[in-house]
C-alpha cells in the first residue's frame, strides 16, 4: 500500500487535456513507488475507489476548461469527502468526489484528498501543450510535490 495515490487523468491526445499525464511523467522520478503510486487514466471510474481506499491520501490532477480562469491558472482544493448529490451520475464518468465517496461507502476508507487543476487553452487533437499550459507545467509539478511532502510528513 502506497501512502499517497496520484491520479493523473485526461486525454494525452487532446493537447492541454494531457497535462496531468505530463506532470505524472515528471513526478514518477521524484518519489519511490512505495511512497507514491501514480496512475494515468483517461477518466475517473468506480474502480479507482478501491485504489483510493488503499492510500492515506489521494491527489487528482486534471486539466480544467473554465471560462472564468486564465489559461495556465492552477487551482488546488480539498475534495469534498461527502457524496454531493447531482442529477447526472453516469457510471463510467465520475468526479473526484464520486471516487472518494465510493471509497468511503464501499471500503470504509476516507483518504485525505486534493484536486489540482490547470486551466487549459487548447483541447484540440495533438500531443503538445499550449504555451500557457507548457509554462504552467513546472509550477504544477512543484505544487504537487509540495502537497505530497506535506502528506508524507503528516504521516511520518
Amino acid at each position: 500500500m502506497s501512502r499517497v495515490l496520484i491520479v493523473a487523468y485526461g486525454n494525452p491526445l487532446r493537447s492541454d487535456d494531457g497535462i496531468a499525464w505530463r506532470a505524472a511523467d515528471s513526478l514518477d522520478k521524484k518519489f519511490p513507488p512505495s511512497e507514491v503510486e501514480i496512475l494515468r487514466v483517461h477518466q475517473l471510474a468506480p474502480e479507482l475507489a478501491e485504489n483510493a481506499s488503499r492510500s492515506d491520501s489521494v491527489i487528482f490532477i486534471d486539466a480544467a476548461s473554465v471560462p472564468s480562469s486564465l489559461p495556465g491558472e492552477i487551482r488546488a482544493e480539498e475534495v469534498c469527502p461527502t457524496l454531493c448529490a447531482g442529477p447526472s451520475r453516469f457510471s463510467h464518468v465520475q468526479t473526484p468526489q464520486d471516487v472518494i465517496a465510493l471509497a468511503e461507502r464501499l471500503y470504509a476508507a476516507r483518504p485525505k484528498s486534493f484536486i489540482v487543476t490547470v486551466a487549459g487553452a487548447s483541447f484540440d487533437h495533438g500531443e503538445s501543450l499550449s504555451p500557457s499550459a507548457e509554462a504552467a507545467l513546472p509550477i504544477l509539478i512543484e505544487r504537487i510535490v509540495g502537497i505530497v511532502r506535506t502528506f508524507l510528513q503528516q504521516k511520518a
Binding site: 483517461h42 468506480p46 478501491e50 457510471s91 465510493l102 464501499l106 471500503y107
Partner: protein, 476 residues
C-alpha cells in the same frame, strides 16, 4: 421545442454513446412506432485511408475505450490475412487470453455499473438513485464485486499489454511480447476470487429473475435469427471459428459460414434517421433478415461451452425455453455465464505447457491485397475488412460492429416495451427507465458502431399520429 404530440427521451443513460428515442402515437394515443436514433457520426473507415496497414490495429483500438481489445484482435486478424501468415500457436493462445480478459471486464461494466441499478433497485426506482451509489447503498458486496471483477480483467490486459486502455500488444503476425512466468502465475493466482464473484453474481441474478417476469416477457421477446462464431465442435468461442445462424425455434439455418465471406450473407441498410446502419441476413431480405448477436445469440448458437461450470449453466440456460431463448432480458443472464466461461477458459489456457514460449510473432511482408478479420467482441460478432495497395497503404475499410447488427432488434425491442408500458401522453420515470433498460440489455456501444469519439447521451420522444411531439425527456 418538441412537437406537443411527441415524447422524447434524451439522453438514454447508462449506455456507451449518444442517441435518442422517439415514440410515435396513433389517433387513440397508443404507441404505434418507436425509433432508436443514434446521433453520432461514423468516421473511422475514411480516416484510415492512406495509412500503412500495420498501423491499423492501434488505430482501430482507438474506436473504443471499453472494448479496444476486440478491435485489436479483429484488426490484427485482418492484417494476418494481408500478410498471409499463420501466427505461432502461443500467440494464438495469448490473443485468446487477452480477449477473454476484455470480455470479462466489459461484461462486468455492463452488468454491475450500468444495469445492476435496474436489477437491484427495480425499474421504478428513483432515477437519482439508479446508479452505482444506489447499488453501493443497497448491496455493497455487489458493488465491490463489480469493481473487483472489472479490475481482474483490466489487470490481465495491463499485465499482457502494458496498459489497460489501448494496449498495442497485439500486432499483425501475433503479439509483440511473450507472457512472463511471473505474470502467468499472478493471473492464475487471481482466478479463484474472480470465479467466486462470478458464481455469487449468477446466484444473485437468478434470485432476481422472478421479480422481472413482466420485463422478461416484453423486453425484446420476439422471434429473430441469432448469429455467432462457434468452434468446429459448435462450442462457444470469442476468437476464431465459423459462423452459425439459428432461427427462433433454435433450428440451424446456416452453418460453417466463412466469416471472410460476410458480404455474401450480411447486408447493411442506411436509415435517414440514424447514423447507425441496420444489418440483416441477406437470404431473408430486409427487414425479415433481422438477427441478434452478442451473449444471448452466442449461447443460442453454441452447443457447449467446453468448461465444466459454464457447461452446466448453459444447459440450464437452454432450458429457459424449448426454442431459442428469445427475450433480450436474458442478455444479462447470458453475460454472467460468459464471464464464468471466460474465467474457466483463462485457467485452461494459462496452464497450457507452451504458454510461455518466446515464439509469438510471424514476420512477413504483405502477400495479399485484401484481408478480413472476424472475432466475437463482448457485444457480438465484429468484422474488419481492409484493402491495401502495393505499398501496403490502406485503400478501403469496412467495419461491421455488433451494435449495428443488433440495431433492428433494438428498435423492435423499444417498440415492444413502449407498447406495453407507455400509456397516455406523459412518460413516468418507470416507463422511461424500461424503454432505456431494454436498450441496456444489448449493452450497445454507439461510439464503436459509429466509430465516433466523444459524446455519451440519449433522448426519448413520444410522437402522435400527426407527428406532433407530445413529450420529450432529456437528461444532461
Amino acid at each position: 421545442m418538441p412537437h406537443p404530440n411527441t415524447i422524447v427521451i434524451d439522453p438514454v443513460t447508462r449506455i456507451e454513446g449518444h442517441s435518442k428515442i422517439t415514440l410515435h402515437l396513433n389517433d387513440e394515443g397508443r404507441v404505434e412506432d418507436a425509433r432508436f436514433h443514434v446521433t453520432q457520426f461514423r468516421g473511422f473507415e475514411k480516416l484510415c485511408e492512406g495509412r500503412p496497414f500495420y498501423e491499423m490495429p492501434s488505430l482501430m483500438a482507438r474506436i473504443c475505450g471499453i472494448c479496444p481489445v476486440s478491435h485489436l484482435i479483429a484488426s490484427a486478424k485482418a492484417c494476418d490475412s494481408l500478410l498471409a501468415v499463420r501466427i505461432p500457436p502461443t500467440a494464438d493462445k495469448l490473443r485468446r487470453i487477452f480477449g477473454l480478459a476484455q470480455v470479462t471486464q466489459s461484461h462486468a461494466l455492463s452488468l454491475f455499473h450500468l444495469s445492476s441499478p435496474d436489477l437491484l433497485l427495480g425499474m421504478d426506482a428513483d432515477p437519482a438513485k439508479s446508479n452505482i451509489f444506489g447499488v453501493a447503498e443497497k448491496n455493497p458486496e455487489l458493488a465491490r464485486d463489480g469493481i473487483k471483477l472489472r479490475q481482474f480483467g483490466q489487470k490481465i490486459i495491463e499485465r499482457l499489454g502494458g496498459k489497460r486502455i489501448h494496449p498495442a500488444w497485439i500486432v499483425p503476425g501475433g503479439v509483440s511480447e511473450p507472457l512472463t512466468e511471473a505474470n502467468r502465475d499472478a493471473i492464475l493466482w487471481s482466478l479463484p476470487d474472480a470465479l467466486a464473484i462470478a458464481e455469487r453474481t449468477l446466484e444473485w441474478f437468478k434470485s432476481t429473475m422472478e421479480r422481472f417476469r413482466e420485463e422478461i416477457s416484453t423486453f425484446g421477446n420476439f422471434p429473430t435469427l441469432f448469429m455467432g462464431i462457434v468452434k468446429k465442435d459448435n462450442g462457444l468461442t470469442f476468437y476464431h471459428g465459423k459462423l452459425r445462424i439459428v432461427d427462433a425455434a433454435g433450428k440451424v439455418v446456416a452453418d460453417d459460414l466463412d466469416p471472410t465471406d460476410y458480404a455474401e450473407y450480411i447486408g447493411e441498410k442506411v436509415e435517414p434517421w440514424s447514423y447507425l446502419k441496420s444489418s440483416y441476413y441477406k437470404p431473408k431480405g430486409f427487414p425479415d433478415g433481422i438477427y441478434r448477436v452478442g451473449p444471448l445469440a452466442r449461447l443460442n448458437v453454441a452447443d457447449r461451452c467446453g468448461t465444466p461450470r459454464a457447461d452446466q449453466e448453459l444447459a440450464e440456460f437452454h432450458e429457459l425455453q424449448r426454442t431459442a431463448v428469445l427475450s433480450s432480458f436474458h442478455y444479462h443472464h447470458a453475460r454472467i455465464i460468459e464471464i464464468l466461461y471466460c474465467i474457466e477458459r483463462l485457467e485452461q489456457l494459462l496452464n497450457d505447457p507452451d504458454i510461455l514460449s518466446k515464439h509469438v510473432r510471424a514476420v512477413a511482408r504483405p502477400n495479399a491485397l485484401e484481408g478480413v478479420g472476424a472475432a466475437e467482441a463482448p457485444r457480438g460478432t465484429l468484422f474488419h475488412h481492409y484493402k491495401i495497395d502495393d505499398q501496403g497503404l490502406i485503400r478501403w475499410v469496412n467495419l461491421i460492429i455488433a451494435t449495428g447488427q443488433n440495431n433492428l432488434a433494438m428498435n423492435r425491442s423499444v417498440l415492444q416495451v413502449a407498447k406495453h408500458f407507455v400509456q397516455g401522453k406523459r412518460l413516468t420515470p418507470g416507463m422511461l427507465n424500461r424503454v432505456e433498460a431494454v436498450i441496456r440489455c444489448y449493452d450497445p456501444c454507439l461510439s464503436c458502431s459509429t466509430h465516433a469519439l466523444g459524446r455519451m447521451n440519449l433522448q426519448i420522444q413520444l410522437v402522435d399520429a400527426d407527428g406532433t411531439v407530445l413529450d420529450e425527456v432529456a437528461r444532461a
